[in-house]
């Protein structure tokens, strides 16, 4: 399976954030999106995830099994700045909800909740309310969310921003394991993720005020 983006552009409000972004990644490949602050990395990821409308261009899945997905978004996991976990519920309740609600995409299946917690190095505390965890632990539990339901594409927005070195290594291991299962990953980051050889996409950080209309 390949994830192909062709000549994407997007705007926020009146401003065109980026223009003519194209990439093509295949199974087992990762794309790292780099660029200065405000260059539109997050916007690009949200456009790919279908959370923001695109101005022009196309995102599609090509290859075997692509009929299984109604939309590109339904083939993706999105790990944004916020963890999408409820403080009042225990970690287990949170993870179980996402496991049941998201369900597995065609092709593979997610791992159990305890196994996922073990994989992020926090086994044994799934019975605690999510709000009791420290910021780093919360982030790691949010990563466990990627593991409990299978999605071929991982979209990661600054995944390791609040993490220490050990957790970064742990996360690189998770992504590598995902790639080796035939998954794809797109990550926007400043830090090197330690994934080895990956494709890179440099966003120029171009900001062109809307030429038409109000200019």
């Amino acid at each position: 399976m390949r994830l192909v983006a062709e000549r994407l552009s997007a705007r926020r409000g009146e401003d065109l954030i980026f223009r003519d972004i194209s990439f093509d990644i295949g199974a087992g490949e990762a794309l790292v999106v780099k660029g200065p602050n405000g260059s539109g990395k997050s916007t690009l990821l949200r456009v790919v995830a279908g959370l923001l409308p695109r101005e022009t261009g196309k995102v599609r899945l090509v290859g075997e099994g692509d009929h299984a997905f109604e939309t590109v978004a339904s083939a993706c996991h999105y790990l944004g700045h916020r963890n999408a976990m409820k403080r009042e519920l225990t970690v287990e309740e949170n993870l179980r909800f996402w496991k049941d609600f998201a369900g597995d995409s065609a092709g593979d299946s997610g791992i159990g909740i305890d196994a996922a917690a073990d994989a992020v190095g926090l086994g044994g505390i799934v019975h605690l309310p999510f709000g009791y965890l420290s910021a780093g632990q919360q982030r790691r539990m949010a990563m466990a969310k990627l593991l409990v339901a299978w999605r071929p594409v991982w979209i990661l927005d600054e995944p390791t921003a609040a993490l220490d070195a050990a957790a970064e290594t742990m996360f690189a291991g998770l992504v590598k394991a995902h790639l080796s299962r035939g998954g794809l990953a797109i990550a926007a980051t400043h830090q090197p993720l330690g994934l080895g050889a990956v494709k890179e996409l440099h966003m120029a950080g171009f900001a062109e005020a809307s030429a038409e209309a109000w200019a």
Partner: protein, 219 residues
């Protein structure tokens, strides 16, 4: 889908949940009315159904603003939008959970408050029945308002302003059905059936509009 229903119900009853606040608000509002109009039992019995309905309407609106805002604040909304499950269905289930947590307690509490209003048994039963049928309509149409106001700061008051006018038909048919049940010549069924029809229509319009608004509100 049951997972979503169970999660929302859990969130409602856990610490900080809104399940109890709605009923409390309802009780307080209704309890304050006699201080305004005086303790004349006959008068209270006459205006009782209307007071109960207005109280229930306000209480049902309370907490609606958090329906999607809480999801948006912690990022859950993004993930919900991305799923294969139709968003309309998700919204419908969320409305259902919200109604079970806040609307149903209002229905259950209404006979007690009817006692305070000195209403007789038929009026009490009619009020309870119409509330049972009518409050889901408020939740459904309120969901549309909540979705529109999801990205706004201080959306709470705005939701009430947006939704109250839309909920007027529910109030009209709910109250008139109760009065029809109590006062002899007027038949009970026509307004009650109108109320039922309104709930069914809003059960479609509300989630569809809310889903569209949620899709449009992402940033």
């Amino acid at each position: 889908m049951t997972a979503l229903l169970v999660r929302d119900l859990k969130l409602a009853v856990r610490a900080g949940g809104g399940a109890m606040i709605g009923v409390l608000f309802f009780m307080t509002v209704v309890a304050v009315i006699p201080f305004g109009v005086g303790p004349d039992l006959n008068l209270l019995a006459r205006i009782g159904p209307a007071i109960l309905w207005i109280g229930a309407l306000l209480a049902a609106l309370l907490g609606l603003d958090r329906l999607f805002q809480a999801e948006r604040e912690d990022g859950s909304l993004d993930l919900i939008l991305m799923q294969e499950t139709p968003l309309v269905l998700t919204v419908l289930v969320k409305c259902l959970a919200h109604w079970i947590a806040t609307g149903l307690p209002l229905v259950i509490a209404s006979p007690l408050l009817a006692l305070f209003m000195n209403m007789d048994a038929p009026a009490m039963a009619a009020t309870m029945l119409t509330l049972l049928v009518g409050t889901p309509a408020i939740t459904f149409i309120g969901a549309a308002g909540a979705a529109v106001a999801v990205a706004l700061p201080r959306g709470g008051l705005l939701v009430s302003i947006l939704v109250l006018p839309l909920a007027i038909p529910v109030l009209i048919f709910g109250v008139s059905a109760v009065y029809a049940a109590v006062q002899e010549p007027a038949p009970f069924l026509p307004p009650f059936l109108f109320l039922t029809a309104l709930t069914l229509v809003f059960a479609v319009i509300g989630p569809v509009a809310a889903a569209a608004a949620l899709r449009a509100s992402t940033d």
